[in-house]
């Protein structure tokens, strides 16, 4: 049973998604209970999978019984399993949240909405587990296609954002595929382990260098790294309230995880291409992203836009962490990735509740949420995490990233993390200023009772930020002991 878990974790949401239009043909209302049940089972299974992998080591699953070089291989190591637990829990929370915030005008397409969310979760699971470069591309594409559809599902201005996302995302996927084909041409294999053995002799080949560049640009678009981030803020702002949390918390982070797999597991941590260390380049781009994202977030008026740019700056911080070339920095980056997934989910859940129940869109509307102390409390916790103050996971993530940067004598990276922290503090101060010290205007209070499902999803994710902080020591020790890439 244990060795089948990684495959089951992927097949469960996939086949639930595909059979859903048939099952819910007559009973539209069944779609949500089915989706919630499937993702609950998946969350439980992912936790069982994590425990079994921590205890008994990694699982390599060969579909159809074909060996890794011929067939499709699934690699379930500690890193993948940890991320998968976060992924399935956040997927479940999004579904719970989507109950009363799902777009109202969907009609019969509500079935498609839940189908797409399950398909997105299945594809992200595929990216996390994929053991070869081509299947990484396949699942990136499935995830991207379901995200485009989800962004545009409600119509209106979201369609424009979805189209822009589609054009840029397709460009990214094509570049990634081009890179993979160059790698395949040079090395004759697609399996990550096999390629890692062959690549060291090929690093002077122009095909490999070009392929690496294409893959990096392609995945850079997917993870919204700073020069390629233009699609993200619009897509996340105009997407329906129930969709932006899962997009913001998971899609870019999982693309980043794919890139981490390629740098550390395929290329090797210390790889130098034509005298240029790859990690140095990644670190410079991360530094830029961390600062530029935060600066752009500071000048936004729309709160969802602000959170989206905050996410862009955090992608940079994670890249700074993993690119330091030492264990502390790598573990800090991965731990921060986990935290960032939960923080982004909390922020977009919060923005969804504020939008649906208090009509808050810009900072000027923020005073309306003052009447709901619990909602404000969740924002305070998320803000503590985003800024990086001690009891939250965000603090420990940044702490290890900075320790790693100091260990590598990379003071520029330390400065960038500090600067980005200060800027994050600045834009959250603007938000809280809007809540607690509003400019005197006439107040048009619209108070609705917030449904339990929304409180549950917001409560769980904001508690998770605190729990990740309290459990940071065991998690970091686990990652240090079992999730490090070879040769770091």
């Amino acid at each position: 049973m244990r060795q089948h878990l990684p495959a089951l974790l992927f097949l469960l949401p996939l086949f639930a998604a595909i059979s859903m239009p048939l099952v819910c043909l007559k009973h539209r209302g069944w779609s949500r209970p089915i989706a919630v049940t499937v993702l609950s089972i998946m969350s439980v299974l992912s936790i069982i999978n994590l425990i079994s992998i921590i205890q008994d080591g990694e699982v390599r699953y060969a579909f159809s019984g074909w060996g890794p070089l011929l067939g499709i291989e699934w690699v379930a190591d500690v890193l993948a399993s940890v991320i998968l637990v976060a992924l399935s829990l956040l997927g479940l929370m999004t579904l719970i949240f989507a109950g009363s915030t799902a777009p109202k005008n969907l009609g019969g397409r509500i079935v498609h909405f839940y189908t797409l969310i399950l398909l997105l979760v299945a594809a992200l699971t595929g990216i996390v587990f994929a053991g070869d470069l081509f299947n990484l591309f396949v699942f990136l594409e499935v995830a991207a296609l379901s995200s485009y559809a989800l962004v545009g599902v409600a119509g209106g201005p979201a369609l424009f954002a979805a189209f822009r996302y589609l054009v840029l995302g397709t460009l990214g996927a094509s570049l990634y595929l081009l890179g993979v084909s160059y790698f395949y041409a040079a090395s004759g294999t697609l399996n990550m382990v096999d390629m890692a053995e062959r690549l060291p002799h090929l690093l002077t080949s122009k095909a490999v260098v070009g392929g690496l560049l294409f893959m990096f640009i392609g995945l850079g678009i997917k993870m919204a790294l700073v020069p390629f981030h233009a699609w993200l803020p619009d897509a996340y702002t105009h997407a329906p309230e129930s969709v932006s949390p899962i997009l913001a918390s998971l899609v870019t982070k999982v693309a980043l995880l794919g890139w981490v797999r390629i740098i550390f597991w395929v290329l090797g941590a210390k790889v130098i291409v034509y005298d240029i260390p790859v990690l140095l380049l990644v670190g410079i781009l991360g530094t830029l992203a961390a600062v530029i994202g935060a600066v752009l977030a500071l000048k936004q008026q729309n709160i969802k836009m602000m959170f989206a740019y905050g996410g862009i700056s955090h992608i940079g911080i994670i890249l700074i962490g993993v690119s330091q070339g030492n264990q502390t920095g790598f573990v800090g980056g991965i731990f921060y990735l986990l935290n960032d997934a939960f923080m982004q989910a909390t922020l977009f859940f919060w923005a969804g509740i504020a939008m649906c129940h208090y009509g808050v869109q810009t900072i000027a509307d923020m005073k309306r949420v003052k009447q709901a102390p619990w909602v404000t409390g969740a924002l305070v916790i998320a803000a503590l995490g985003m800024v990086g103050l001690p009891p939250t996971g965000g603090f420990f993530g940044k702490w290890y990233i900075m320790l790693g940067a100091l260990e590598a004598n990379n003071y520029l990276a330390v400065g960038a993390v500090l600067l980005s922290t200060l800027l994050t503090l600045a834009y959250f101060v603007r938000l809280f200023e809007g809540i607690f010290f509003p400019e005197p205007t006439q107040s048009d209070m619209r108070h609705h009772d917030i449904p339990f499902s929304l409180k549950l999803s917001l409560g769980v994710t904001s508690t998770a930020i605190m729990i990740l902080g309290l459990l940071s020591d065991p998690i970091v020790r686990l990652l240090l002991a079992q999730a490090l890439p070879p040769g770091l």
Binding site: H4, I18, L22, Y61, G65, G108
Partner: protein
């Protein structure tokens, strides 16, 4: 909205060609285990025959009813695929490892052959349905809307 084609030549030829195309599609589908062919190509050909019937006889004709009915078939095809894969897992092998398709009285080679045929049938249904639904969604949006809204 697709209206029937008004030429008698097209209609007569369509009446003759559609069954031929369908038989050829099935042949390609089942030949796939031994040579070039298989579920994807066979499914495309089967889908083409349904598209041809819709284009020549219009989408309201009795001949085109099958094309409208199969629109929900993608779930069926995928369930066949998942079912075969799941049976292999229950039999103790990996997903889609046909050698573990526990059917008494069949040796391993025959099990593999049967497993391939069954999964390819699932794939063919999916591909055919996708081809038909692409044509329908390009031509007449209300058909898709009607079907999905029950």
């Amino acid at each position: 909205m697709i209206r029937p084609h008004d030429s008698i030549i097209v209609q007569s030829l369509g009446r003759f060609l559609i069954p031929v195309i369908q038989i050829f599609g099935l042949y390609v589908l089942f030949f796939g285990q031994y040579g070039p062919g298989g579920g994807f190509v066979g499914g495309v050909i089967l889908g083409t025959s349904m598209i041809l019937s819709v284009l020549t006889f219009g989408h309201d004709a009795t001949r085109s009813q099958i094309a409208k009915k199969v629109l929900h078939g993608d779930g069926v095809g995928m369930l066949i695929y998942a079912g075969v894969g799941g049976l292999c897992m229950i039999g103790g092998g990996e997903f889609l490892n046909y050698a573990h398709l526990e059917i008494p009285g069949l040796e391993v080679a025959a099990r593999r052959s049967l497993g391939i045929v069954l999964t390819q049938i699932g794939v063919a249904i999916d591909v055919a349905v996708t081809a038909v639904s692409i044509v329908f969604s390009l031509s007449a949006e209300e058909i898709i809307e009607d079907v999905t809204n029950g």
